[in-house]
Symmetry: C2
Subunit: 358 residues, 2 copies
């Protein structure tokens, strides 16, 4: 996710230092270079193991877990092990994603597989997957009940399996052009939304929330938010602020499915569909073809369609919380966070009216 | 592990049908083709999804979990969820191993990545990793306590992280020739032994075993058994029964580290070391170079050295159980299983005296 711009709401940033310290604690005392690769991925060290001076990115999954715990009546610190677990699970997915998609860069630095090769990167991701749960086991030593730990791990694994189902569908869609809008959004809800849903539900569990209805509402919130963030990211691929950066260029070249393209394919005129088809028939999409593609999307109204989709998904994410009778304070904080996270950083603006709705 | 030959002891095979049914139950009702790839890897279906008629391989990790539960006083069926978890965790490692090592085949069939590409295979392995725990969550619905489930998951994840550490070292050793015997065995104890240790400990936990000393003894048993099985497999690479099969040829070509080679490098004469060095300097080891290598190993006594190493490791595995005061019945069953699992299928025979010791 690279859509965020502007100032993040305090609800997301308030405890980032504590979260960062908890994340670091889990790998910093392990001497094997396996953990140095993990630390590199997290942004704490250089490939040589030298400390790296830079401010960490917003840890979205961890932050949402902390926020959900806090706004649902728990103490921030209760959710630190859960936030750590969610964040490491997400980062395990990123490490494997970069291999799958052949991304040479991650956040402006060489990706793990690019630096150490695919064999080490597959293994580093697997190690991080195992590591994700260690913080929860440690919480148990600190008085968290076995019930609570087992519940949290179940949420974590089910979210993870759901993510893998989404990944499966994403890879399958990549080979096809006739991908409908609904098919795309349903894939995005799993691939991107499942872990966000897992993060907020973990936070809620840490805060002592056991109401099935509330947990179901949070699940829906996370899934719709995931789809909205994904569409926002798609918008930044086609309509960036200034030059398209390497990561976004890479997504274009790899022909990853996006909502604007799904829109033209499903709802565009026969001429527009043919034009998009011709561009996607080429082995790679070079910069000039990318410009032609954006022209077709502009003419077909895909930009406005995508902006409305974000607006609608954000609206649905908040409605899910309202239907589940989540306390209003929590709705306010979570919807403020969602709006920030799903706002494109490029030139697409999400309709104001619908955003006010949300 | 492809070292097993001859009749497996009843302790390992007694409940394989039930185990196989429990393994199948976890994926068979899930319609997404992601689970078909898992079923293909497990040997139940063809790439098309058509059922495959063949007897399943011995599920070593699951069988050891069931055996440990039973011989330590529990009921077989209590350990089915644990056996399933251990077996799926192991198979997740295999799916990723085949990508890492570029294995085109697994048990005489195309590997998952060879059939569906590395992107789907990384994801299928990740999905199986998440799936490994689902059987434990279901056990909780059937009356297993949250404490017991949380304990089991902790054993599973710690074993998994230990395996990843072993993998890391295995990949690193692959680039080096100056690998000592101890360094090799310590890597094998993690990479191969950690999951076997996890499997027997999971079984013991399922059987209600909570004695820390016994669990520690089982841990040591599993780790030494893993190293012994690894060396037995190495022996079959160099001294197979008949023609070297494709998988073993592949391990030679990939220059995976083996105990016989570590033996020559550490303890061989300067001439032998130079010969091995020259063979390993080549980009690939072709069949004629493989023959020369075996000649050097034969002359250096690496075959006998490796056979003694298996014998010693088996002895240590059983001593660990004795020191931990594991009941004699359990020691007898586990050591019988260990001897079967670590017997090379090729022409290397493990010294009889030491085997009797064990």
């Amino acid at each position: 996710m690279t859509t965020m711009s502007g100032e993040a709401p305090a609800g997301l940033t308030d405890r980032q230092d504590e979260l960062e310290a908890a994340l670091k604690a889990l790998v910093s005392e392990r001497p094997l270079p396996l953990y140095r690769m993990m630390g590199y991925h997290m942004g704490w060290v250089e490939t040589t193991g030298e400390p790296r001076i830079s401010s960490p990115p917003l840890r979205v999954h961890g932050a949402l877990a902390l926020l959900a715990c806090h706004t649902l009546g728990g103490n921030y610190s209760n959710a630190l092990p859960h936030a750590t677990a969610a964040e490491y699970l997400y980062n395990h997915v990123l490490i494997h994603d970069d291999i799958r998609d052949g991304n040479s860069e991650r956040d402006g630095r060489a990706s793990v597989w690019w630096s150490w090769g695919p064999a080490q990167a597959i293994n580093t991701g697997d190690g991080m997957h195992a590591l994700a749960r260690l913080s929860l086991f440690e919480a148990r030593n600190n008085g968290v009940s076995a019930e609570s730990v087992a519940d949290a791990i179940r949420v974590l694994d089910e979210a993870n399996l759901d993510t893998c189902e989404g990944q499966y569908r994403d890879i399958t869609l990549q080979e096809r052009l006739d991908v409908s809008v609904d098919e795309y959004l349903s894939m995005a809800e799993s691939q991107t939304g499942a872990l966000l849903s897992g993060a907020v539900r973990l936070g809620a569990l840490a805060g002592g929330q056991a109401d099935e209805g509330v947990l179901k509402g949070l699940d829906e919130f996370g899934r719709k938010l995931g789809a909205a963030m994904r569409v926002a990211d798609d918008c930044d691929v086609f309509w960036p602020d200034g030059q398209r950066d390497e990561a976004r260029q890479g997504r274009l070249v790899a022909k990853k499915k996006t909502l604007p393209v799904a829109h033209v394919i499903e709802l565009g005129s026969p001429t527009d569909r043919r034009k998009v088809g011709e561009i996607y028939m080429e082995r790679v999409i070079d910069p000039s073809a990318a410009d032609s593609l954006v022209e077709v999307l502009d003419a077909a109204g895909s930009k406005e369609f995508s902006a409305s989709a974000i607006s609608r998904l954000l609206h649905e994410s908040v409605s899910a919380l309202e239907s589940a009778k989540v306390p209003q304070d929590a709705i306010d904080s979570l919807s403020e966070a969602a709006m920030y996270l799903a706002t494109p950083s490029g030139t697409v603006s999400v309709p104001a009216t619908a955003r006010e709705d949300a």
